[in-house]
């Protein structure tokens, strides 16, 4: 029982990499490995036939684990993608503890910071990706434009690369080996019910305004919730931070103390943990102001209920996610996974994500799959010319509507911090638990 998860994961990968799916697929994988070693172009037919037998198992949160993507993969690439949706805790858990239960992990960057060093995933060779150059610089250098400032927190580029193919050390500058291929990201802020709030909201501090006593909510995922709390405390002038993305113990204690006072005063109606809870809280009128995700706002609005994704003067809290490869992938499956990742960046999914109110990591390719009006509404902050439809064809916004917060540059350009894992993570989580138990 010598059990270091890192070690056991490595053993797992080498022991069972090929034979895992039984003989037939094993044989396919061996063939694939032979082909994969350099002669792919020479045997297109064998390739095409074998790849149809491949099944890749992807898991992640429901945010991007969309069945439509699996369908499109089958159509475009020919192989089967099996999707499992989990909540964000379970995602981290499964990535670390069940390294053989998945082939592709769809995780957020702050989770990546925790998960990747466990050694259950393998970095991707960027030279094998045709669309690598289409990836937004935000994920390469951390800067949206050459002169923009890098936001606080676990910015994706800081955990986006490792030193080498077998390394689990994050690299300080871009290398050939990428941990996650970025797929989806957004700038989060407070959602409000403008029909139930009669004054303008312009600061994170408004979340704790006694006027909304018993009608406010915050999300209860410690690593994300603490950032929202920090935005609030900073805006109120209660606490000043060196780096919100990496707080000191003292800063954490002060932040939590403010939140506990608010909780004891009855400020919060509930805390939410899953996307759906936030929608239900808002739609049912239990809550009128809360931290929220963009498509949740859209979901409330699509029920005919007024809901605004309120831009705030202190800026946004951003998050990003990407897909990575399981350590055990090899041979044909690995080739298929690369094929899939490259395809992910080629625009169709990007457009799909953009239409949900998220952002695609390769905006230029996504543009090719969107109408001019859609691009104008979602990305450029222009008024919609016609009705804006959701990916499944429902009317999301009527003509004339403008996206809350405006254009891509306006929104992603005013990010104050990224979701993060801090050095004092253990302490932060203990304090957060005190807040919940208070």
């Amino acid at each position: 029982m010598t059990i270091d998860m890192k070690k056991s994961a490595k053993n797992l990968a080498t022991d069972t990499g090929v034979s895992r799916r039984g003989f037939v697929k094993g044989a396919a994988a061996v063939t694939g490995a032979a082909i994969g070693s350099g002669a792919i172009t020479g045997f297109p037919t064998i390739w095409a036939q074998n790849i149809k037998n491949v099944t890749l198992r992807q898991f992640g949160t429901g945010v991007s684990n969309i069945n439509a993507v699996a369908d499109k993969v089958k159509e475009d690439l020919g192989f089967t993608l099996q999707m499992t949706a989990l909540d964000s805790d379970a995602v981290a858990q499964r990535a670390v503890t069940q390294p053989n239960s998945f082939d592709i992990a769809d995780i957020e960057y702050w989770i990546c910071k925790k998960v990747f060093p466990a050694g259950t995933m393998q970095p991707m060779d960027t030279t094998k990706l045709k669309n690598y150059d289409a990836i937004s610089k935000l994920f390469i250098t951390g800067k949206l434009t050459p002169d923009s400032e890098i936001a606080q927190g676990t910015a994706p580029h800081t955990v986006g690369f490792v030193e080498g193919a077998d390394s689990v050390e994050f690299a300080s500058a871009p290398t050939q080996w990428m941990t996650l291929i970025p797929t989806i990201y957004n700038a989060d802020t407070l959602g409000i019910r403008p029909d139930l709030i009669d004054r303008p909201i312009d600061s994170w501090a408004d979340l704790l305004d006694p006027a909304f006593k018993g009608k406010a909510s915050i999300l209860n995922i410690p690593s994300i919730g603490i950032m929202d709390a920090a935005m609030v405390c900073e805006a109120m002038g209660e606490v000043s931070y060196g780096d919100k993305g990496n707080m000191t113990k003292e800063e954490i204690d002060k932040t939590i103390a403010v939140m506990i006072d608010a909780k004891k005063a009855g400020q919060f109606r509930a805390f939410w943990k899953s996307f759906d809870e936030s929608v239900n809280l808002m739609a049912s009128g239990e809550v009128v102001i809360q931290s929220m995700w963009s498509p949740a706002v859209a979901a409330v609005r699509s029920k005919g209920i007024a809901c605004k994704y309120q831009p705030l003067k202190e800026g946004y809290r951003a998050w990003g996610g990407g897909i990575g490869l399981a350590k055990h992938l090899s041979g044909l499956e690995l080739e298929a996974a690369y094929e899939y990742i490259d395809w992910y960046l080629s625009g169709w999914v990007g457009a799909y994500l953009n239409r949900q109110g998220y952002y695609s990591a390769a905006p230029a390719t996504a543009q090719k799959f969107m109408s001019e009006d859609e691009w104008g509404f979602w990305m450029e902050g222009k008024a919609a010319q016609g009705d804006i439809l959701s990916p499944d064809g429902k009317v999301m916004e009527k003509a004339g509507a403008v996206r809350d917060g405006g254009s891509y540059e306006e929104r992603m350009g005013s990010v104050a911090c990224w979701n993060s894992v801090m050095d004092e993570n253990k302490h932060m989580i203990r304090k957060w638990n005190e807040f919940i138990a208070a």
């Binding site: 029982m1 059990i3 998860m5 056991s8 053993n11 797992l12 022991d15 198992r57 898991f59 949160t61 429901g62 945010v63 684990n65 969309i66 069945n67 439509a68 099996q82 999707m83 499992t84 949706a85 989990l86 909540d87 964000s88 379970a90 858990q93 503890t97 069940q98 053989n100 239960s101 998945f102 899953s274 996307f275 759906d276 809870e277 929608v279 239900n280 739609a283 049912s284 498509p295 949740a296 979901a299 409330v300 699509s302 029920k303 005919g304 499944d392 429902k394």
Partner: protein, 279 residues
């Protein structure tokens, strides 16, 4: 079966009506949330999981059989059903065997008994955590039909065993002795004497274990492996926009259960009447 309806109906005491009303209230309480589920499953096409109603439609019932944006009802439902049935069969057989074993004292019997009690009281999440860690350490892949099955069995066995205890403690061994005196083998005694007498309780064990397994969440959380059971899938779906299709699922499940039970009951009554006519 021995109890036929008495010819002259006994007058019910007042307490009967009070208690019947209490029972009715209890049932109403059990079905309280079902009422919201029922109403909201007719939510309009753009409606959400909460009030207000946004029109009235059968849209979500149709949608139940279509593919969802996220998640997979069909696969996870089939998995939960299969798992529930496996758990049911294993629990009935193993509990029955254990019940027979416990009729005599044997070395270690109290160990097993206290294990069963422990299994009942160890919080589900610990079982989940323990099995998840264990499988990780010995480098086995958790699967719904291995680790999750085991996790569920630790939950259903204590119930099965306790029910068997209750049954066999009341079981008069003279029936078996009579059978043996008439030359029946061990197996014949069990088949023709014991089984028919404990049959109804075994049906109880079966129903109980299926229900427990089908609805189990915590024990499956870390033991299901790559593929979700229905409760996990529903929970996972709530990480994205969920729709009243969840309620439609609830309404359909309930309606379907009523129909199945109605048919079962009807056929029992019918059989009994036929038997009565023959006699």
């Amino acid at each position: 079966m021995t109890r036929s309806i008495p010819k002259t109906r006994e007058r019910r005491p007042l307490s009967f009506y009070i208690l019947a009303a209490f029972f009715a209230l209890f049932v109403l309480f059990l079905y309280g949330p079902m009422l919201t589920i029922f109403i909201l499953s007719f939510q309009g096409e753009n409606g959400g999981l909460t009030f207000p109603m946004n029109g009235f439609s059968f849209h979500w019932f149709g949608n139940l059989f279509e593919r969802q944006a996220v998640g997979d009802f069909g696969g996870s439902f089939a998995r939960s059903l299969k798992l529930g049935l496996i758990v049911m069969v294993v629990t009935v057989v193993v509990s029955f065997m254990a019940g027979l074993a416990f009729r005599r004292r044997f070395r270690g019997d109290s160990v097993i008994f206290y294990l069963a009690i422990a299994s009942l009281i160890v919080p589900s999440i610990l079982i989940s955590l323990g099995i998840g860690l264990l499988f990780n350490i010995i480098e086995w892949q958790p699967q719904w039909f291995t680790s999750a099955l085991g996790a569920h069995l630790t939950w259903t066995f204590p119930f099965g065993l306790l029910i068997m205890f209750a049954v066999f403690n009341r079981f008069d061994p003279s029936y078996e002795e009579a059978a043996r005196d008439l030359g029946a083998s061990n197996w014949q005694t069990i088949q023709y004497v014991v089984l028919p007498m404990v049959g109804p309780s075994l049906i109880g064990v079966a129903m109980f274990s299926f229900t427990l397994s089908y609805d189990e969440f915590a024990r499956t959380l870390m033991t299901a492996g790559a593929l979700n059971t229905l409760p996990l899938e529903i929970y996972g779906m709530t990480t994205n926009v969920t729709t009243p299709v969840l309620y439609a699922l609830g309404t359909v499940t309930t309606g379907f259960s009523f129909v199945v039970i109605g048919i079962a009951l009807g056929s029992v009554l019918l059989l009994r009447r036929r038997k009565g006519q023959k006699a």
